[in-house]
Amino acid sequence: MATTSVMGGAVRRREDPALIRGTGTYTDDIQPVGLLHVAFTRSPVARAKITSLDTSAAKSMPGVVAVFTYDDVSHLGPLLAQVPIGKLRPLLAAGEVNHVGEAIAMVVAEDRYQAQDAADAVEVDYDALPAVIDLKQAASDEIKVHDELESNVIHTWTYHGYWEALGLEDQTPEVDAAIERDDAVVVSLEMTNQRLIPVAIEPRSVMAEYNSGYGKFTVYSSSQVPHALSGAISKTLGLRASDVRVIAPEVGGGFGSKLNVYNDEILTAWASKELGRPVKWTETRREAAGATIHGRGWIGTATLVGTKDGEFLGYKLDAIADMGAYSQNFTVAIPLLGLWIASGQYKMPVGWKVDCVVTNTMTTDAYRGAGRPEAIYYLERAIDAFAHEIGMDPFEVRKKNFWQPDEFPATMGCGFSLDSGNYAAAVDKLIEVSDYAGMRQRQEQARAEGRLVGIGVGSYVEVCGFGPAVLAEIGFSWSQFGLPASFNGSGLVRVNPDGTATVIIGTGPTGQGHQTSWAQIVGDGLGIPFEDIRVFHGDTRDHPMGIGTFGSRSISVDGTATFEATAKVKEKAAKIAAHLLEASAEDIVFADGGAHVAGSPEKTVDWAAIAKTAYQAHTLPEGMESGLEAQAVFSPGNATWPFGTHLAMVEVDAETGDVKLLEYHAVDDCGHVVNPMIVAGQVHGGIAQGIGQAMFEDAIYDDEGNMLTGSLLDYPLPTATDLPALDLHRTVTPSPINPMGVKGIGEAGTIGSAHTLVNAVVDALTPLGVKHIDMPVRPKRVWAAMQEARA
């Protein structure tokens, strides 16, 4: 059993003992005395005027305490959004509904069964209107979703124009000129990056308790962003944020779906204040499929132009991204994250245009990767088609066009600079560890036997570690929720009088193991044993400011802040130790759970002695403040840019079109790692979600806007038998923008894998002449592509 506190150790997780015993506390586990339960009446139609709404039957049902509709909550305004472009969501339907699953009435009852019965008894009459679902139809404005908006296209992102202040040059003419060259090889693919349902296994849940005596809230929520939720509730209800304590206890997965603040969270809190009782709402799986944000949902055409010897001359994307009916948190800004990595790991000009359109569907927002898997998918699928077109090995064509190690920091056409990278080194390692040559031989043998075996390569670069202050200028912040605008990270480190340490951070982890990794960072810095360090997160009372956990940002931004707070504590401790040892602070060294004068380890003062001194003012050196704690806020100068290359081998059943994933190898580079076990786990899960998109998952609305994939039977996730063992490796290219050299790893696996899998399937079908298959590559679709190719 490893128990080293040193950074880089595969330390067993601090979080696990409670979770494996079933004694961890998730929001729905909390049952205070007098608890009331909420259920919502939701729209079964995609677009309609509500002609009548009758709650009288519901109100008279057993156990029902209250039924609320729009008229009860209209004074609270709509749900706050960080990027308020488009139409904001009313807290309850305001005389019309715009997607299946939209909340119309809120029932509060003594138990959850009674609440659901009464929600079903709310009578609503609808005057149905034609639903806008198809993205091209939506973009045409043939039917407008919202009368008050000028167009269904609520925003357009272009590579050069997204941020006027940067004065970026439009590179589209350069790409177009390349396309016209006589020696140009041009590939163009129209592709769908389908809508997905995040499916955290824990449904969202919120439990709010308002104490009228104290005038204060305690709110538990299954949230990635407790401080943002506190800000949103307090702003909406007209309270001080410090009187709205939000706690994110154990949170059972998020993947971006819990980084939104939702109307149900605001309403549950408001109802508790209205009714003077604790109130809880826990979503059903059907609600999770239709009333929690979705991800992706793009259609578009990717065009890559290059020479026949493999040099890229330029890349263009023309796409439409589905925003859903209402803009919530970052909705419209999601494609912007893709824009920043539009050129991937390659040095070439880019033309990019993504239209954001509203439709009569659930809101889209950040789902693991958020804009980046979409952007990389389009680019890397085009590169793969290009490699097939010119008959070049997919690794070779990529290596030919990578930014070179001596070119970093490398400034891209979007204005941002890639912090560090050695892209070819990751490819070389992948070729070696996977026995790529052997894989190709086995593929040849299989093909000779008439089997359809394919090998797919996919590279990616990611932008993450959101924290640079400049991002606030383009809307990436929580300022709409009354919080500081920047996404700076923060950490507080306190040494207690008994020599143990308490670390308080403003993150909102959903399984990433922050209690473990942060204890490693602080333990490594102070020399206090891992076992003596406690890490607390997800409580707005404990920590004044928190950004939450998303965008692979926690370790590089909040982790760095904690690293810096640790250094400040150590500096003060050295002065106290010097005072106790009658030496100079410069001569103090820390080792073996205490401090001593260099060269005299026999005379050590332990952390308890140092801390006790710190907490009794009269024993401190004159003029020194008492206490032994420090807080730091870290404002990074740039985002971080992890990267890697993945490799998949698949076999397609020539009769049925069934795809079997045979092998998966990956080399990822997230800079230095704090805990390699946790990093591997993040990559495993990320890859599984990318493969899930490539092979199985598809959130489907029919033409009328009915949700056809509202249960896990209709929305298949990968199971244990769908995936092989994953062969993971790393290279280490430290980030220069933070002192630990870390980059972040939460989303990399997802960003690297969907295109890798599809590239493999297309490679398998290349002998038949198939050039592209849209995701998910389910048997029916693959079979149809084979039939078409054979015809």
């Binding site: 059993m1 880089g8 150790g9 595969a10 067993r12 997780r13 979080e15 696990d16 979770l19 494996i20 015993r21 079933g22 004694t23 961890g24 998730y26 729905d28 586990d29 049952q31 069964y113 499916v199 955290a200 296994i201 824990e202 449904p203 949170v251 059972g252 997965g253 998020g254 993947f255 059903t284 799986r285 959903t510 399984g511 990433q512 193991g513 230095h672 790692v673 805990n675 390699p676 076990m677 946790i678 591997a680 786990g681 495993h684 899960g685 599984a688 249960s711 896990l712 039977l713 990968p718 199971t719 244990a720 038998t721 995936l723 063992a725 993971l728 490796h729 790393r730 280490v732 696996g749």
Partner: protein
Amino acid sequence: MNVSMTVNGRSVSADVEPRTLLVHFIRENLHLTGTHVGCETGYCGACTVHLDGKPVKSCTIFAVQAEGATITTIEGLASDGELHPVQEGFWERHGLQCGYCTPGMIMSSAALLAENPNPSEDEIRHGIEGNLCRCTGYHNIVRAVEYAGAKMRGEEPAAPDWEEAN
């Protein structure tokens, strides 16, 4: 209706509505909240408990259907404070992240090993196919079950397969 059963070695009895699901009886009447609800359709397996020694999805049966049964939940798996080898395996091999599917996954894995003490990787994957995990990609869950199997057979578990820091 009155329902009586033995849960984690304790006799329990309560009046419940006939429609009360076993999982809600366990969570809300017995306050054993380690058993989770993930999908209400029997698909995700987060609610898996042992009923008379066999794994069942407790969101798909009514409490009254468990009349007279012997139930083991995740809280009853460790004995005298000692972790069950499957629990130990999940900790040692990072078989969990958010922990929400974990109780059900552990209960299914323990049932698998009780039936097949030396399963192949393929048999492990089939054995836990009825439990969904969104965090781990199953890789380390399989390794955790392998670890537990080795421990239960008195063998030395294989070394972890994550690449060390460098």
